[in-house]
Subunit: 270 residues, 2 copies
């Protein structure tokens, strides 16, 4: 089984002020997934412009200042839940178009966090969908949080990816991003930035500038942290450029593309 994460920056126009899907990318990627003939697959997608601007606006995951602020956050929660569901419908529609048996699974219906980290999420149903050869499609969502001071949290697709990876032990995790992988420097700024083939520990990251770029759910640094934790558990992952044609398809068919995150030598516990 493979877990494929599709970044919000690939399937939406992330810089758009209004929620806007990138239909061109979505259609091409759905086609590639269909053509890959990958039999056992979970897809997780980010929220992009359907989630981040709202999450920021309403401060979901922050402590409420007062009763009024809490009420406002709750209204925001409802709006965001609806918005990311809209994107999920668009994604599933494209997947179905290419014969993929996409079944949507709404994180806010079965996952709860504690201090913004997943505390509980029953995965039996996902296993059952997989067993029947459906393709479960999850996504970045807002969820309830057990921490009394925040009550609600933004649950990123990356955290879901890590959680499912940890509990379902996939053959590999593919992270479809809008960059070719992990670079020695931010490639958007420095033309001499070099793509890193392998990352095997947190130490490899220290010199990476991009690792500190943050968005609401953590930039590339956050993604890498989740994947390194998976590597520690023996689960290999790769970050590749899903905006480039054919890479998703080739990765689903077994090729190693972009930056591979994998523990090289001794397994580090902790």
């Amino acid at each position: 089984m493979i877990i494929l994460k599709l970044g919000g920056s690939v399937i939406t126009k992330k810089e758009a002020t209004e929620p806007t899907a990138d239909y061109e990318n979505l259609d091409r990627i759905a086609k590639e997934i269909g053509e890959s003939s990958c039999q056992k697959l979970i897809i997780i997608h980010g929220a992009g412009s359907y989630g981040h601007p709202f999450a920021k606006k309403y401060g979901i995951g922050d402590t409420s200042e007062n009763r009024e602020d809490l009420q406002r956050k709750k209204r925001g929660f409802c709006i965001i839940q609806d918005s990311v569901k809209t994107l999920n419908r668009i994604v599933c529609e494209h997947l179905r178009k290419y014969g993929i048996l996409a079944v949507s699974l709404q994180p806010s219906s079965f996952i709860i966090t504690r201090n913004t980290r997943i505390y509980y999420g029953n995965l039996n149903l996902i296993k059952k969908y997989l067993y029947l050869r459906f393709v479960p499609v999850l996504y970045g969502d807002v969820v309830l949080d057990l921490e009394e001071s925040i009550k609600m949290a933004v649950l990123s697709g990356d955290q879901i990816t890590r959680y499912l990876g940890e509990h379902l032990k996939p053959e590999k995790v593919i992270l479809g991003s809008d960059v070719n992988g992990i670079y020695t420097k931010n490639p958007k700024k420095y033309p001499d930035a070099q793509l890193i083939d392998h990352v095997s520990s947190l130490d490899d990251l220290e010199f990476i500038e991009g690792a500190t770029t943050a968005d609401v759910t953590g930039g590339m640094g956050g993604k890498l942290l989740e994947l390194i934790k998976l590597a520690d558990l023996g689960i290999e992952s790769e970050i590749l450029n899903a905006a480039k044609p054919d890479l998703i398809k080739r990765a689903l068919q077994g090729e190693r593309i972009g930056t591979v995150i994998k523990v090289k030598e001794k397994k580090i516990k902790g």
Copy 2:
């Protein structure tokens, strides 16, 4: 806490060949719910023309004849899941418009059936949403079924209503239908049909013609059976005409309207 079930025949144009919402009813009902100031509420809605025609077409819940038929049913499952979700989005949008903190809960994400009856569904999250004064909104959906021969099932809003009623012990259950309640005869056929004030047991039903009218998820007979089971557990319910203005609002404010289903005398076990 009150559980309000909105029938698919009220919020959609049930006879339409294409999924069609009844926006007029939806808007008015959402407004009534908002005005009722009911603080603790769960809403469950039917699928109407967003679900029934597809469920019938693909034979979800029937035994698959062969591999091909199973594949077809699985495609149907994905299509129906998406269609009822679309209706749910429309419902939640209207609720939010009138200040209701509607949070969607997707049944196929956390409920599984066995022989078409709910076998498992973790309700902790619903309790948590209620505690935070959100209004959970569930709906008729397709779900996985543990029975190997059928694998998938149609889960009606009525069955969800009964399940939540049984486990969450609401003050009362309100069933918003397109008829005034239970009649001695089918009121659409017989002008001398009389509305029944109270139903207290299955025996009361024997002479009711409407009780045998079946749709995919069981007609009024199926609804009544679910509600009588609730009555046996001490939970009162009422069937009223949600297509008529103000009845939902008045019922949410405590009035008894339509047909009340309630065990009168001794409590029958079993």
